[in-house]
């Protein structure tokens, strides 16, 4: 058996150009397959990490996102007094009333416009979002025209630098800090004092409320209480659910795109593999005859050729993954049409994607090799040996 193993390997080596072309075709397919999976995974990571399970978001009923939502001050005050809201360090309810609006900014490289989220925050906003830390500078002083910017904003947008100021809503706002929110959606936001921003944008209502649950299991109860209260026209969602719902359309689009591309590409690669394997069977008819005459079984021949094709697939798979792994250094920044605002996320490679990609590559090898291998194993010894 080991003889056949080396026979397959050395054959690939002997026909280097063909092996290289076939494997690189497969490598490209695996590259595309892996990169789409990585992108979808990256998007999911970003949105799952953005929310925390113990927090609840309150927005106006059926408004889908914070941007469309509006919560009046009176209603906000009612929610603040609910018993399910956890208490903060100073004995005050751990609830923040925030403003979310969009402004148009220009991207650094292309200069094309994008909608950036401006979030009006108060001090407790940081307590509710432990994943957000200041990387440079300080937090904005309450009551001042100071803002802090997320890391993706600093990297991607024109004029967003520490110490400089941005002009919007007829005021100029000084950037006093840059915050790091890991791979979460907050990295693509600009934060400032909520009361100042509400004044400047002339918005008399908040956009959303965010609070920590006293007990995580209280959620259903508080949701019920908020949605049944005739004074409130609001709805509550767990923060994790809220962010997941927001990316549904984009995730679906990526899935459809990835799925159809992978199918089309794999057809190409399987055809390529089949051509190679058929040729490699046809060229070696006499060798196959000899092997059979030496006493190798039909089954062994079948396995030898299948193995060759699987090697080919594996080679392509490893090469494809190798190149795809470099994608992790890239960040994609695009508009999420559900929120109409900019969201940055990166490619992320994990074990399950690696396994899927390798399995996919082997599957392509198998499909490409099975028919030629059956032909090889089905040959009659005498005919095969007589073949010129």
């Amino acid at each position: 058996m080991s003889l056949l193993f080396f026979y397959s390997l050395r054959n690939l080596f002997t026909r280097r150009l063909t092996t290289f072309l076939t494997a690189s075709g497969m490598a490209l397919v695996v590259f595309v397959f892996a990169s789409i999976l990585m992108l979808a995974q990256g998007l999911e990571n970003t949105l799952v990490e953005t929310g925390s399970y113990d927090n609840a978001v309150v927005i106006r009923r059926s408004s889908v996102s914070e941007v469309q939502s509006g919560v009046e001050r009176l209603q906000a005050a009612i929610v603040e007094t609910l018993p399910e809201v956890a208490l903060g360090p100073r004995g005050r309810p751990l609830l923040v009333k925030e403003l979310v609006v969009l402004i148009t900014m220009e991207k650094r490289q292309s200069g094309s416009p994008a909608n950036v989220v401006i979030r009006g925050i108060s001090e407790d906003s940081f307590l509710l979002r432990p994943q957000v830390t200041m990387s440079v500078g300080r937090t904005p002083r309450p009551g001042s025209s100071e803002i802090i910017i997320g890391r993706s904003i600093e990297k991607g947008f024109e004029g967003a630098d520490l110490g400089k100021s941005l002009f919007f809503a007829m005021r100029s706002w000084t950037v006093v800090g840059v915050f790091d929110a890991g791979s979460t959606g907050f990295s693509s936001e600009i934060w400032g004092d909520v009361d100042q921003l509400m004044q400047a944008f002339r918005r008399p209502v908040y956009s959303s409320l965010l609070f920590r649950l006293r007990e995580s299991s209280d959620f259903e109860q508080v949701k019920d209480r908020i949605e049944r209260d005739p004074r409130l026209t609001l709805e509550a969602k767990r923060e994790t659910t809220y962010y997941k719902d927001q990316s549904e359309m984009m995730a679906k689009f990526l899935r459809i795109l990835g799925f159809s591309l992978t199918i089309v590409f794999s057809v190409g690669a399987i055809v390529g593999g089949m051509i190679t394997m058929y040729a490699s069977v046809a060229n070696r008819t006499r060798e196959i005859g000899t092997l059979r005459a030496l006493g190798f079984r039909r089954k062994s021949i079948l396995i030898a050729f299948l193995m060759e094709s699987l090697f080919l697939g594996l080679l392509g798979g490893i090469a494809g993954l190798f190149f795809a792994s470099f994608l992790q250094f890239f960040t994609v920044s695009t508009t999420n049409f559900q929120t109409f605002s900019e969201l940055a996320f990166s490619f992320s490679l994990d074990v399950s994607i690696t396994l899927k990609a390798v399995a996919f590559a082997l599957g392509m090898g198998l499909l490409g090799g099975i028919l030629p291998a059956i032909r090889a194993s089905g040959m009659e010894i005498v005919d095969a040996l007589r073949e010129a």
Partner: protein, 384 residues
Amino acid sequence: MLLRLVFRNVLRHKLRTALTLCGICVAILSFGLLRTVISAWYAGVEASSANRLITRNSISLIFPLPFSYLERIRGVEGVKTVSCGNWFGGIYIEEKNFFANFAVEPRTYLELYSEYLLPEDQKQAFLRDRRACIVGRKLAKRFDWTVGDLITLRGTIFPGNWEFVLRGIYSGRDHRVDESQFFFHWDYLNETLKKTEPLRADQVGIYILNVANPEHAAETGARVDRVFKNSYAETLTETEKSFQLGFVALTEAILLVIQLVSFVVIVIIMAVAANSMSMSVRERLGEYAVFKTLGFGGAYLGMLILGESLLMAVVGGTGGVLLTFPAARVFLNYLGDYFPIFLVTRQTVIFQGLAALAVGVAAAALPTWRAVRVPIIQALGRIG
């Protein structure tokens, strides 16, 4: 003689030729579909008119402008007609039934968008009834709506359930017009808001204006913006085209990926075709040596190989181009919600043809070089 040899060679390995043709066909087909997706992205830009300008709040599109600007814009020199509208963002039954719906000032809007063709009686019925709406032909077909139907939308930006009576179904003057939109009276929205949320009444999302002469579009836009400079709602006026391009720019990262992928698919098929050619050439090296011995030059061999490769590329490519049209129709059935307009353009077909030729030439390059360079003795002495 050359042509006969080429044809014979193509038919020598029927299975391999069939597989290669199938590969090229699929690649050209998917290249065409991807290019069509890209042009579908630009459908809004294509449909925009050089005469129309859009005025919006300079902070961003989500901030409204006061309704009182209407008369002031009308007074600006060069402006002919002004209409206004709001993105309504209503949901029909559930979220996945997404379509664009706008509250517009109906009389002026239909005047500005003369490419929306509406029968005269339906137009009059629409203008007379404040609760009336009109929809595009495709949208009506999608939900099986007929004139006279009651339609309820759930508001996401403007809370509540909103009821409309369908008074007309418009069709586009040409294939570039989006026939999947929903329009209703801005007055209906505004009068309801006055009762429910008076603070939000008398606000407009965008103003649409047209100018008599497109050459003066830019300066008219600047003139409009100057009127509202330093007011608390400053405006940004741009041509409809650049307004639409702004939307395309929002998703340019995804667009870039699709563009990239459409080229990758061609590279993959180049590898497949080159592989198949190089195998054919390797098997025939002995024959090529005989040709050389008989006195045929390298150019002749090159033509032989290139001819074979091009023949396959052209046949496979033609198949791919022909299949693009039915495939696009199937695609539209599934993705009609994302792309209201999905048409294979002439440019796409030309690109497909060029891509097929490139595949043919590239696939022949390496094998030709090998066949020309190999010494006769070595080629004759070689075993399969």
